[in-house]
């Protein structure tokens, strides 16, 4: 194993706070965090109920996908780079499948999404394929297949299709998709902390060799977490199509990266073994809140991406320093 993080090269085995560089970084990070909180909260129009509702709605699709990615990351398989395309593909398929009825359409979309992702999980868990390389290549082939089938156009619901307006509705002023995000987070958290597969997910991420040696179903767990991620992407796709009433490949936008950013900001350890769906939910909301402040202050798209990158880097370093200090 060439694990960079598991070796002690370059870093002496002392508490990181004893190193002036890391101590300065942590101090600087704390000041930056306070400054960022002030920057966000003092934004005109930020601390209003309507903006909170907007943040919840805007973060819901990313949040649902990020919760699936959390399970993948905890299992020690980094993340899936094909989630954006799977969500967009699921949205397109769902609208097409509405001709079979609403419930069959939802079930078919979720099952197909989970199976496609589980197949990727199989090659990763059983054959040891590199998760990043395999999912990048999968997104490439999925794009091709979707373009070939759909002709690359926009999918509209059939004329006699059951109404899907309720998916884009609001309850008490809050988007239905936000409730779905919270529901998915709770279910995922129950899976991770209350089931056998959830326990193996953490163990496989913390020490795969030991988990395998102990006879735990590591490979099967990898398949299950990828299936879960595909399921989440499918749910996000269904919610997006309900919101937009149409679907095309462009729906994927930057969903993949936004979701990964949310998982990392939620404090998930990138090499696995630590993280939670609820923390990811908070990470998603945190990024959306900061983004909302930037939008309200009229910052450009470039600045928004730049800030997101800065937050991800800070979160990754903070989690890394914190975990090495505990070791």
């Amino acid at each position: 194993m060439n694990s960079v993080a598991s070796t002690s090269l370059g870093t002496p085995r002392v508490g990181p706070l004893r190193s002036p560089v890391t101590a300065a970084l942590l101090g600087g990070g704390l000041i930056a965090a306070v400054a960022a909180a002030w920057f966000v909260l003092s934004t005109d129009g930020f601390a209003t109920w309507s903006n909170v509702k907007a943040i919840l709605a805007a973060s819901s699709f990313i949040g649902i996908i990020a919760i699936g990615q959390t399970a993948v990351m905890i299992s020690g398989n980094f993340f899936s780079m094909s989630m954006g395309i799977q969500a967009a593909g699921s949205a397109m398929f769902f609208l097409y499948a509405l001709k079979f009825g609403l419930l069959p359409a939802i079930l078919m979309t979720i099952v197909i999404g989970a199976v496609i992702s589980a197949l990727q999980g199989y090659t990763i868990g059983v054959w040891g394929a590199s998760p990043i390389i395999l999912t990048i290549a999968s997104s490439s082939v999925l794009t091709g297949i979707i373009v070939l089938i759909s002709g690359g156009g926009t999918v509209h619901p059939p004329a006699d299709a059951p109404s899907i307006n309720f998916l884009g509705d609001r309850v008490g002023g809050i988007a239905v998709s936000a409730f779905v995000m919270v529901g998915v987070a709770i279910l995922a958290q129950v899976f991770l902390s209350r089931t056998r597969y959830g326990a193996v997910t953490y163990l496989a991420g913390a020490n795969r060799a030991a988990a395998r040696a102990a006879g735990l179903p590591v490979a099967a767990t990898v398949v299950v977490v990828f299936a879960l991620a595909g399921l989440c992407a499918a749910v996000a796709g269904i919610m997006m199509s309900g919101f937009q009433q149409t679907a095309s490949l462009s729906l994927q936008g930057t969903l993949t990266f936004d979701a990964i950013a949310a998982v990392l900001v939620g404090g998930c350890a990138v090499l696995g073994g630590r993280g939670s769906a609820i923390a990811t939910l908070l990470g998603t909301l945190g990024i959306s809140a900061i983004n909302s402040a930037l939008v309200l202050r009229d910052y450009s798209n470039g600045v928004q991406i730049l800030v997101k990158g800065g937050i991800v880097l800070a979160a990754v370093l903070a989690v890394h320093i914190w975990s090495t200090q505990r070791r």
Binding site: S3, G10, G125, S300, G302
Partner: protein
């Protein structure tokens, strides 16, 4: 990098870069004669022009993979290089523009490499954050829109035909790949890089300054990506801050075709170059045989996926691994390289 780069045995027996590139070339020669179309000099120029775009990215990504790391940020460094080169080049000349692109790439690499070496942290999340930071910076520098140049002279020169089959730009990139190959295969630099990729702890004990190798490799990766972006920007007199992922997919897969094992330590720039040529030849064959662009995307994507699966170290492992109890009773353990390595 435990999950990304595992020890591999099967992958070492897969025919590598030159073999696959030659096989693709033969397919390109044979297939059109069975269907429609014919191979012209223009097709070779297209392949080499694609090489000029993808090869710098593949080399930039490949050298970090040889070190058993992974630099996701190369794709946005490439975009930043293009935007800076076109923008600065317009006001201060091509040389300064190229210098700006190269310097920005190198700085991006040094910063990321330093963080990775100093904190002993996986390169994946760091370069993912770097990818976002550099992408945001590119958008800011470009003002959120495509940057175009009024000076078409460098583009005309770079796209001018040389020896019928090449463009000047592609010749420059081929020369760059050969230089990179000589540096990595015949100097201490390359040996250190492969040693660090193979076994970091042993490298440190044997006196290699591991942190310097890490920082140096990421600096080189950023520099090459920035230079590649500059070349692309000058060739087409414009640069787009919008980061496209397709070249990244091609770059990673080209590196794997070219002999870079997913466990690091193996592979060479010439091999990676052959990988880029193999993918470019496949795309061009689909154009020559007039396969619809939609179907071509599926075929290319399928090929990329097949390579990604073939590079899996435990490809022969049966589904019994899903049930560990069964797997232990099977002969899998004897075939699995893990217990013996």
């Amino acid at each position: 990098m435990s999950s990304l780069f595992r020890q591999t045995s099967f992958v070492r027996r897969v025919p590598r870069g030159p073999a696959i590139a030659i096989a693709m070339w033969l397919v390109m020669l044979i297939l059109p004669s069975l269907t429609t179309g014919s191979v012209e000099a223009q097709n070779y120029r297209d392949i080499f022009q694609n090489f000029a775009t993808v090869a710098p990215l593949a080399i930039a990504m490949g050298i970090t993979m040889i070190m058993a790391e992974f630099d996701i940020s190369v794709i946005s460094t490439f975009a930043l290089g293009g935007v800076l080169a076109v923008k600065v080049g317009d006001s201060s000349g091509i040389f300064v523009g190229t210098l700006a692109a190269v310097a920005a790439g190198a700085v991006a690499g040094i910063v990321q490499g330093s963080i990775i070496a100093r904190f002993n942290i996986s390169s994946v999340p760091v370069t993912l954050a770097g990818f976002l930071l550099i992408w945001g910076l590119t958008e800011v520098v470009a003002g959120g829109q495509q940057v175009a140049s009024e000076n078409f002279a460098p583009g005309e020169k770079l796209l001018s035909v040389v020896a019928e089959y090449f463009t000047l730009g592609s010749i420059l990139v081929i020369a760059g790949v050969v230089i990179a190959h000589l540096l990595l295969c015949y100097t201490k630099l390359g040996r250190d890089l492969r040693a660090v990729g193979g076994d970091r702890r042993a490298s440190k004990i044997s006196g290699i300054r591991v942190p310097w190798v890490i920082v140096g490799t990421f600096a080189a990766s950023g520099l090459i990506a920035g230079l590649g972006g500059a070349l692309q920007g000058f060739s087409f007199s414009n640069a787009n801050p919008l980061v496209s992922f397709n070249p990244l997919v091609s770059a990673v897969i080209a590196a794997i075709i070219g002999g870079v094992g997913i466990s690091g330590a193996t592979g060479s720039p010439l091999g990676i170059g052959c990988g880029v040529l193999a993918l470019g030849t496949l795309s061009e064959t689909l154009v020559i045989t007039e396969v619809s662009s939609d179907l071509a995307t599926v075929i290319t994507g399928g090929f990329l996926l097949a390579i990604a699966i073939i590079s899996a170290p435990d490809l022969r492992v049966l589904p019994t691994r899903l049930l560990p109890g069964l797997a232990r009773r099977s002969k899998r353990s004897a075939l699995d390289p893990e217990p013996t390595s």
